[in-house]
């Protein structure tokens, strides 16, 4: 009975989150509160159980990275790079798009995707306005590139952070298993965009001089600050790479990195904390409590048993179902709550795997599906929503379907390529 109540609360909350009929932070807090008040999750577990309560590794990893990114944002490096790239492209549309996509895809594995889009999209709009062309195809391509690039590392996309923490996968595990396939998919995606956006490319030779008048060097006012930030960021990435050897959790690496960043950049702590997306952190906390409620009442275990029974001995089939299922479902719901909900279910299926390698293959299939689902629709991931917001505010409104018709194709392409990779590498 308690399982049914927990499931009912969860389904109602998920409905409001997916349809955006109510503020999603308020929804998860009410849902989590209802589960706690009804005794569906013990209060002590909410705070002190790593896997059946709030996953503080995820929360503090996100917090640390938000602080680090908040400081890097102030350096102007992205404006410099994007304008420099636009000048190099000399207004040639495909070259311009490739330049922007490459900048986005290189940044997104190390910074969160929302921040990457918030840094790249405004300068894209300015360049396109100067060229007298629509920024829509460029903004859409950047979001698609960010969601693909973010899949490469543990810290690049929130679903990876959730999966890494739940499965005990390290930063290097993601580099070894995800980065190669993500790189291949990104290269093919870049080639595909030539075909995908061929009708949207405009070239205005008479407007190129307008872009050349932008002075990218003025974007960076404090070179020493930039150098310091890049050194600290490199140190943080090195810390992530060594965290398994040093036996330090990724969240600790991020928090120490954030502290060092604040110290060396000599920024006001109030300014930095203003850059933290507190509502995102609270959303994660509430979400974890709701998922823990499902776990405590046996719903997750039952779902895991069903899935295990359905694919008993058929682990390639299970990986296929996880990859395509996650890619489809994550596209229609936000892929973060989807991943948080499914991660314990996948954990249950992995527990029945005959060997650790097969179990890990399921995690990678799940991660690839969940990450690439972010491109599926205009609301599948936060960077999409942010980009559409910037587009609207700058007079380049992108409708749900304008985004989704490209997103579905790219999701399909990347998921099929990921499936071939999983098949060839693990089975």
């Amino acid at each position: 009975m308690s399982g049914l109540i927990a499931l009912a609360i969860f389904v109602v909350a998920f409905y409001f989150i997916a349809t955006e009929k109510a503020n999603k932070v308020a929804v998860v807090l009410i849902g989590a509160g209802a589960m706690a008040v009804l005794g569906l999750i013990p209060g002590s577990d909410v705070f002190y159980s790593e896997h059946e309560g709030i996953d503080w590794n995820v929360i503090f990893l996100l917090l640390g990275m938000m602080i680090i990114v908040g400081v890097i944002k102030q350096t102007g490096i992205f404006d410099f790079l994007a304008i420099w790239a636009a000048k190099k492209a000399k207004g040639e549309p495909y070259r311009l798009m490739v330049m922007f996509m490459v900048i986005t895809a290189i940044a997104s594995p190390f910074l969160d995707n929302v921040t990457t889009i918030m840094l790249v999209a405004p300068v894209t709009v300015v360049v396109c306005d100067r060229l007298g062309i629509s920024a829509r195809p460029y903004l859409i391509a950047e979001v698609l590139a960010a969601n693909i690039g973010g899949a490469a590392t543990l810290i690049g996309d929130p679903p990876n952070i959730i999966i890494g923490s739940r499965a005990g996968l390290t930063f290097n595990d993601f580099l070894v298993h995800m980065a190669p396939v993500v790189t291949i998919i990104f290269v093919l995606f870049v080639l595909f965009t030539r075909l995908l956006f061929r009708k949207s490319f405009e070239y205005r030779a008479d407007r190129v001089a307008e872009v050349m008048m932008l002075d990218e060097r003025r974007a960076i006012t404090d070179t020493r600050l930039l150098v310091r930030c890049l050194v600290v960021l490199a140190g943080v990435v090195a810390g992530f790479a060594l965290h398994a050897v040093l036996h330090v959790a990724p969240s600790i690496v991020a928090l120490v990195g954030a502290g060092v960043m604040v110290l060396v950049a000599r920024v006001e702590i109030e300014d930095v904390l203003r850059e933290v997306e507190w509502h995102t952190l609270v959303f994660f906390m509430g979400l974890f409590v709701m998922v823990a409620g499902l776990s405590h009442t046996g719903v997750i275990e039952t779902a895991g048993r069903w899935v295990s029974d359905a694919f008993v001995g058929e682990y390639f089939l299970a990986a296929t179902a996880l990859l395509f299922g996650s890619s489809a479902l994550g596209a229609f719901f936000d892929n973060i709550p989807y991943t948080a909900t499914m991660a314990p279910v996948v954990e249950g299926v992995v527990a029945h795997a005959p060997d650790p390698q097969t179990g890990q293959a399921l995690w990678w299939a799940f991660a690839l599906g969940a990450d690439f689902s972010g491109n599926g629709t205009a609301v599948a991931a936060s960077p999409n929503v942010v980009a559409l917001g910037i587009a609207a505010r700058t007079g380049h409104r992108i409708s749900f379907w304008q985004f989704t018709r490209y997103g579905i194709l790219v999701t399909l392409l990347s998921t099929v390529l990921a499936w071939i990779y999983v098949w060839l590498r693990y089975f």
Partner: protein, 161 residues
């Protein structure tokens, strides 16, 4: 005195008005801000003067100052001209501040505290249904307080004779 006693009627704009109209309303009326109302005349947000700039500065430049620095002087002087086709709704930040409102029976102290706390020189006065009945500007509030202030020789209320 109560808010209703010093409230005045000020021109307002709606979400669907062009930004250019909003600026005209503010400039011609010498207003210290703008009250944005919905179709039923209920204030949706009250923008203090400096925040009206968020309507004027193109969205691309609002995330930080680094990008603005890259723009050359001739273009920088014309930054607001590209807004001709945009509406107030297009240009308002995603999390527009809640309307700064007081009921008609609010005291002047309440109005002053609200203005000081929220750093706004403009407050909307709304009735029980949330409809706009008037507005109080900082200038209006200060003038009312000054005119009503006792002379230096007058005793303060409650002070010994």
């Amino acid at each position: 005195m109560r808010a209703r006693d010093i409230a005045v009627t000020l021109p307002t704009v709606t979400f669907h008005d062009p930004v250019a109209k909003a600026l005209r309303v503010m400039a011609l009326g010498r207003l210290p801000g703008l009250i944005v109302v919905d179709d039923r005349s209920r204030p949706v947000t009250v923008l203090p003067d400096t925040q009206v700039l968020r309507l004027v500065v193109p969205g691309a430049f609002q995330e930080g100052s680094a990008l603005a620095r890259t723009v050359d002087e001739p273009h920088a002087d014309l930054f607001w001209r590209g807004l001709g086709h945009l509406t107030v709704m297009d240009c308002l930040p995603g999390h527009a501040a809640k309307p700064v409102t007081v009921p008609p029976d609010a005291t002047l102290l309440e109005v002053a505290v609200l203005m000081a706390r929220l750093r706004t020189p403009l407050v909307a006065v709304v009735d029980r249904t949330g409809a706009l009945t008037g507005a109080i500007t900082l200038e209006r509030l200060l003038t009312s307080l000054a005119l009503d202030a006792p002379g230096e020789s007058d005793p303060l209320p409650g002070s010994p004779p």
